[in-house]
Amino acid sequence: MSGTFVGMPSFPVAAGVAVTDERLRGNLRRATHTIRDKRAVAVGELADWGALREAGKEIKDRTLRGLDGYLVELEAAVTAAGGVVHWASDADEANRIVVDLVRATGEREVVKVKSMATQEIGLNEALEAAGIAAFETDLAELIVQLGEDRPSHILVPAIHRNREEIREIFVRTMSEWGRPAPEGLTDSPAELAEAARVHLREKFLRAKVGISGANFMVAETGTLVVVESEGNGRMCLTLPETLISVVGIEKVVPSWRDLEVFLQTLPRSSTAERMNPYTSMWTGVTDGDGPEAFHLVLLDNGRTATLGDEVGRQALRCIRCSACLNVCPVYERAGGHAYGSVYPGPIGAILSPQLRGIRSEVDASLPFASSLCGACYEVCPVAIDIPEVLVHLRERVVEQGGKGHRLEKAAMKAAGWVLNHPGALGAGERLASKTRKGHPKKLPGPGGRQWGQSRDLPQLPAEPFRDWWKKNRA
């Protein structure tokens, strides 16, 4: 994934810093609660939500089972429609393919549709290294790019910023990238949006190459689909002479008809809209209309390996709606950056360690970045049992050993022995109760210290339940 995240600290460390940032906490709380409340209303309007959710899950699972066949079908359809298909096994290969394609056009700049796949592979950085400027055109992505920041949410990448911060970024940096911010810009949403619109317009009209991802790819017709709210994506998809789409292989659906389900569940889950304002679909190239050249880069980058895991593969059902982020109490406090990945929140906690492996500190910490409250599973429109996958991945991290886990494993084994010997357990409880007067309110050691951060330990009772029972009932 993106080099930007290499060497990220583990989640508890990054989250520990983030929770102390009052402004960040306020921004996140306000934004996530607004979206989640609106989503609940939009979903509540549909009498058949449960059936749609089940249908989405079934379509995705069926597709994943026959993924190889559908991808070959897709390739044939795209080729027949005048497009060129490229296969990329990892981020480096995908970046190399895109850089070569842009170079072949002779252009030194590209406009971009908001895309998680291109962020995942760090495409902007790769283009920059090759001397090609990539301009993000989604409003929130623009804010992130101008602020030399990292996205912190799948759908609302600048969710951690408030209006005053955005105004400051526009005034300070827009001139370095193109048209400067207008004089006397205030932080009213309308003025900020207009400043971005004028700034971006120049880029749309100038660009010869557009780069996008896709929300879906239809195998039977070779059609790609992008859903969006602003229309900037559609400008990038239709104005340039060359269009390059980088898409994860799991985004394919078998037939046109399958879209019916997702075009209902995705907008309601993500932006709480009944229908997203712009749905753009493109199939190869068409004479006299749209791009003259179309390239599809099919990205694996860990997806086949994920597909090989019986429990973990359900993460590939994800349609990137970000509903799980907006309901997650951990995301709300820690913010997106703490996850050290372009996929933050609950889905990021199961997707990143599977796509990247669990060797790095941040990836090994992500499966533990959850209280397993289950709110993410409840809202997921394709029913990904995120808590189940989290626990499954925790097992993998524990097996790998490493920092802290050896000692923990020994403790778990010792506890396991005691818990399998009720006599020993009872004796231990009795001893603890007898000596309770001498117990401190705070425990020593790292675990005790962390528990004592904001909480007092409960006082031990005079006798454990099993002793009371023996005296009074047995």
Partner: protein
């Protein structure tokens, strides 16, 4: 009807009052309760931390301890959910790893007879008015596993609403996690604390004299935060409120 109490390790060691309340309550309702001494822990702390194999003996132990009973009642939504949701998974995985179907069979025997307390009262005994009297204001925090894994729905609420003298206060953001999460409370202490502090702010904001849940593990986290802040709000397990009568007030 042979009914066994699965008190859970947390209640056994830290909150025996809750176990006594369940016994008092069920006996008042005419249920003869047994406490098989072979029981220990459901294995959730180990399982949720990634130690599935270490949980296996506890799945077998649970099955063995409660083999002679028709119903197992537990005052913990979380532990009931562990048995119902995760025991079958543990059994399936053991079989898939070529270690036979014994564990899956043990899990299958445990699942249908395991009831969280409010499920047992409402679904099996068919009561919502348990004859309790508790003249205090109370706010109710629905714990995550009870709410989402078990789907307790409005059962705890209906039981509370039938308690004479009790004034139920709405808890804003009730369905949000308190931040305990077992070992999460230690592994991600900063986030856990932030969640706990927000939950406690919502609780104290109701002005209620007590907060109750169906899980003492969550209540340990909430109660510990209340205590640190010097709050007067009492953390109580729902069973303690239901055990309370005019003749024998529980608290």
């Amino acid at each position: 009807m042979r009914v066994a109490l699965f008190v859970t390790c947390v209640n056994d060691a830290l909150y025996p009052r809750t176990g006594r309340a369940v016994v008092t309550l069920l006996e008042r309702l005419g249920v003869e309760v047994a406490f098989p001494a072979a029981q220990t822990c459901c294995g959730q702390p180990q399982y949720n931390t990634g130690y599935r194999r270490e949980t296996e003996p506890l799945v077998r132990r649970y099955d063995m301890a409660f083999a002679d009973y028709d119903y197992v009642v537990t005052p913990s939504g979380s532990c009931a959910a562990m048995v119902r949701d995760n025991y079958p998974r543990i059994g399936r995985k053991a079989a898939a790893e070529g270690r036979g179907s014994g564990l899956a069979t043990a899990a299958a025997r445990s699942v249908p007879k395991t009831y969280e307390l409010t499920e047992f009262l409402v679904d099996v005994l068919g009561v919502t008015d348990v004859g309790a009297y508790f003249p205090h204001s109370v706010t109710y925090h629905p714990t995550c596993h009870g709410l989402r894994m078990l789907g307790l729905g409005d059962r705890p609420r209906r039981l509370l609403e039938a308690v004479r003298g009790l004034e139920l206060r709405e808890l804003p953001g009730a369905e949000e996690c308190c931040g305990f999460g077992g070992t999460f409370a230690v592994k991600n202490a900063a986030v856990s604390s932030a969640m706990g502090e927000d939950k406690v702010r919502a609780i104290t904001g109701t002005g209620a004299a007590a907060v109750c849940t169906v899980d003492n593990s969550c209540l340990m986290h909430i109660g510990g935060t209340l205590s640190r802040q010097g709050s007067e709000v009492r953390p109580l397990h729902l069973a303690e409120i239901l055990a309370s009568t005019e003749e024998e007030p529980w608290v």
